[in-house]
Symmetry: C2
Subunit: 341 residues, 2 copies
DNA sequence: CTGAAAGCGCTAACAT
DNA sequence: ATGTTAGCGCTTTCAG
């Protein structure tokens, strides 16, 4: 590796300005908080030196001393699901308003990586973390909680007095989507479930069931399929299975858009016309839903809003602006009608 | 903020095991390098203490002392372009093989944020950085270079003896795509250019022009449009403009897939049948290309390979495994034929 | 209003 | 083979 040129230290600035390091330190932080410990002409002189030498504080040293890294973690289950880049961007942008940077962690859909995220983020002394997980329970958060790191999460199974929750209303989303299908006249409805070990998978399935019941439509267990993953191929396979049934459904709700896109692909490959022969509705309103053909009707789950709110809460907790007990906020998905129903 | 429980320090482990901190430190690092400074029974005892107390080293302290943060930066121009999540994931996974974590930076398509990335990453003492930028010149990298931080980049304009480059062959990609159109019998070809202030925008346009020339087809400047951004709406607008021309093109190459998806949308909205009335080819082979209707023919630019190689080089440079002069590697895009041509 | 000095937790000489 | 110790660059009492 190349020789690292020694960078400008507080001490260098102090020498250059003819003051002590304490003064320079005070000036540096005076830029942020409005504290006035330094005389105006001294401050001026120090600021010039800072500028001239191009001083930038060493974050590692600050972190060691203050136990603050200026970092928040943002954990998402699968960055290749187009829902999450939107989420990440919104969170990152909110964080930077306060000069906080984000460490983005992609769990690649694996429970083990979700667990690894906790340890890794803690090692890097993140000041807070925004958690979108599928497999974690509150017990997995113990290290973070013990360290007093504020946590904002989306998953209801992480409900705890020490974690702030901003969740989408999973049940209402699935219920509304199913109702939309029913209002369009469908009576034989199928559901392609996502991973049923996750909260989203379970609750959305329940929302589907409850919507049928509310409309006095019996649930045909044959028509509830999939349930192992949220991935595209699973949607493809599940739809293929459904249409091969003796009495196939006329409409299907998938647990998310990625599954729906896979299902749409299966229809295209078999020459099944959507929505004429079968109607399809997804959940998430990913950018792909708009690109697909026909345009995928789906539920917008407002990732931008959820991410911003969550990050906002976490940041306000870590800088002490927010001290109220953990809150639980619910955002309601809204229907985006396109052409697949 | 909640009270942070003081975490286990090296000193605590030392006390627990009845040895000095130096020994514990040696044992900790002995886990990584194979150095043996510690006797087997001492080592055993120390490892037990480490386990029992659940000791995890303080990265900030390590970073301060060793000038190594265990962090690499991965900078991408636009995380919502589905090309980049793939890139990020591949880079992140390669990094973690060596226990290095990645700080992902999304430039949101803005030059100012690309510049900000350099400063922010440097502040956090990243040990290396993988750079996918659109607007940066080598002069922007000075702070990183001065600090001796190894840099791996994709953009040819960053060519420098101190930066490793793994680039896609932009010219060949556009040339091959254009040639594919010509081989399909098209003679009236248009190009929807991406941001022409970027390397990709410029070189791909050149590849398009050169392919026409190589086939003795004159370039009609009217048919080269767009050029300000790589975004979807620009593709939509540009295509709309093209088909309204007196003598519209029969085929178009867009500078990337995102533009192509926009163009495809414009066709769908106007009832133009692709590929019958107009053929369309993109570049990038994003997941959306496969979802679109008709399937978008495009060039695979191998983001996984580029990201892995780049991250690999950066990591080997920072751990001293790679000391050879900066290399320049080129990966060649390959055609993925779907239904849009 | 400003400076001196004590660490934050760790690594790496240097001693023993 | 193991221990002692001097910092890494910064913040933060505590004196003056």
């Amino acid at each position: 590796m190349a020789e690292r040129k020694r960078s400008v230290r507080l001490k260098d600035v102090a020498a250059h300005a003819g003051v002590s390091v304490a003064t320079v330190s005070a000036v540096m932080r005076g830029l942020h908080d409005g504290s006035v410990r330094v005389g105006p002409e001294t401050r001026e002189r120090v600021q010039n030196s800072i500028r001239e030498l191009g001083y930038r504080p060493n974050r590692a040293a600050q972190a060691l001393r203050t136990r603050r890294s200026g970092l928040v973690g943002i954990v998402v289950p699968d960055i290749t699901n187009p829902l999450f880049p939107q989420f990440v961007r919104a969170g990152q942008q909110r964080a930077e308003v306060d000069g906080v940077h984000a460490m983005v962690w992609d769990s690649c859909g694996e429970a083990s990586r979700e667990r690894a995220a906790i340890a890794a983020l803690l090692d890097h002394q993140v000041d807070g973390v925004v958690l979108v997980t599928e497999h974690l329970g509150i017990e997995d958060l113990a290290p973070l909680l013990d360290a007093g790191v504020p946590i904002g999460a989306t998953d209801a199974r992480l409900a705890d007095p020490r974690v702030d929750l901003v969740s989408e209303d999973l049940h209402a989303g699935a219920f509304a989507a199913t109702s939309h299908l029913i209002e369009a006249g469908h009576r034989r409805l199928a559901h392609i479930a996502g991973d049923r070990t996750t909260t989203a998978g379970t609750i959305r399935e329940q929302g589907f069931r409850d919507a049928l019941e509310a409309n006095e439509i019996g649930v045909d267990e044959q028509l509830i399929v999939g349930g192992d993953t949220f991935e595209r191929d699973a949607g493809y396979t599940a739809l293929t299975h459904l249409v091969e049934l003796d009495d196939p459904p006329t409409a299907v709700l998938t647990s998310n858009d990625v599954l729906a896109i896979g299902a749409l692909k299966a229809c295209a490959d078999r020459g099944i016309v959507v929505p004429d022969e079968i109607a399809l509705i997804g959940i998430d309103n990913t950018p792909e839903a708009d690109v697909a053909h026909p345009g995928l009707t789906t539920m917008d789950v407002h990732p931008h809003e959820v991410a911003s709110k969550l990050t906002d809460i976490v940041i306000r907790r870590l800088n002490g602006t927010l001290t109220a007990p953990a809150r639980r906020e619910i955002v309601t998905p809204t229907l985006v009608a396109r052409q697949s129903v």
